[in-house]
């Protein structure tokens, strides 16, 4: 991000909009004029639907032309406006902000990416980067039901290319031959054959799911200083000025969103923050 104007949105255009299910869409963006900063896996941008509002949205990747992609679920006014955008629509973008997944630091270790729901979006670029080395990454993805699994086509392609992919849903109708249960049930098969001390884990999803998963991984022998979580708090400035996203001694926008488990484990059990 250009440090001179982190509060000034860059005018962007939707280059393409891809529906990912009933209320989820992936927008590929390009600047109307000038260039955008790249951004690392795990970082986020503030996307501004003009006249409605801004929301923090993680990078879910870059297309072949290097244009940033964001996968958005419609939950409120801003995200409803963003997911309704079609190619050619204009919006503002500030970022990228925050810390990324430490993908490069995991050389020689097995990476386990555990995604709940839309949490697969911020993990996608980290998975793609790690998968460049065969056998380096396994993916666990949990969703509400089979039809809400995110990036279903891409998950099948990863599995076909040899990346172990474990899918689980909260409930299903007959015909589904995958798992029904929580992501925690996928951890024993995902860890099987790996020395847990040599496994690193990236977690993204609802906080309750991440808290339970981090605990289960650490109980299974994965070192707490090798587990990272992408935290979410309400954001306004995105650059550590306003305090909206304060999480104990950290601002999620500046010190996170990706934080190491051993640093926040005690805080995850505090109800006040």
């Amino acid at each position: 991000m250009d440090g001179a104007a982190p509060m000034l949105p860059v005018r962007c255009r939707v280059a393409s909009a891809q529906a990912e299910g009933a209320d989820v869409a992936t927008l590929t963006l390009e600047p109307v004029a000038g260039a955008l900063s790249g951004g690392a896996p795990g970082q986020f941008n503030m996307l501004y639907a003009f006249g409605i509002g801004e929301a923090a949205i993680s990078l879910s990747g870059h297309d072949e032309a290097g244009r940033p992609m964001h996968t958005i679920r419609a939950v409120g006014a801003t995200t409803r406006a963003l997911t309704a955008m079609e190619a050619g629509a204009e919006l503002g973008l500030r970022g990228p902000f925050g810390t990324g997944w430490p993908v490069a630091d995991q050389a020689g270790r097995h990476l386990l990416a555990v995604a709940g729901g839309l949490g697969l979006a911020p993990l996608r670029p980290a998975i793609l980067a790690a998968a460049a080395q065969p056998g380096a990454v396994s993916v666990v993805h949990g969703a509400r039901s089979p039809d809400t699994l995110l990036y279903a086509g891409e998950l099948s392609a990863w599995a076909a290319e040899g990346t172990p992919v474990y899918l689980t849903v909260d409930h299903a109708a007959p015909g589904w031959t995958g798992r029904v249960g929580t992501v925690i049930g996928c951890l024993p098969p995902a860890l099987a054959g790996h020395d847990p001390a040599a496994v690193s884990a990236f977690l993204c999803g609802p906080e309750v799911m991440m808290r339970a998963t981090a605990q289960a991984l650490s109980d299974a022998g994965v070192p707490p200083d090798r587990i990272w979580l992408s935290m979410e708090r309400n954001m306004k400035c995105g650059i550590g000025l306003c305090g909206h996203c304060q999480y104990g001694p950290d601002f999620i926008c500046r010190d996170g969103p990706v934080l190491r488990y051993d640093r926040i484990a005690a805080r995850l059990t505090l109800r006040e923050i």
Binding site: R73, V75, G116, G117, L118, G119, G142, A143, R144, T148, D170, H171, A172, A173, P174, W176, T177, G178, R179, V180, G181, T182, I184, G185, P188, P189, G205, P206, V208, M209, A212
Partner: protein
Amino acid sequence: MTLRTIRELLAEHPLFARFDGATLDELAGCARTEQFDSGALVLREGETADKVFLLRAGDVAVEMATPGQPPMIMETLHPGDLLGVSWLVAPYRHMADARALSNVRALSLDAACLREKCDAIPAVGYAFFRAWAPHVAQRMRAQRMRLLDLYGSGG
């Protein structure tokens, strides 16, 4: 399949890891091997829970039948899991259907035989409690987490 082999299979199952040799000898007399083809009904809701299954290979879906609609899969069970906890809970009736999602190999333990052993040898009953309570508690915790519908909105 000889008794000796069944005892070995029991000893290999993760839920029996804590059991001593004498307990395994006792329990092997209640056990037999079973196989189910993919799609076969393993248990039916309302039937007497006269067996408990220890899954060795293959996956099983625990289903609830809903009138006028396809059944709902509530939970899937996998190698190392236990199927049919109603064997220990009066009135010993299965509370859901269970269907093989793939070809399944299991050990089944006769419920009456097991209850008899547990009544006669309290140490066996306690060993069961120590081995199986954490498994059942873990599954209950997982179901509780799914009740939160974490991925329902915003997740």
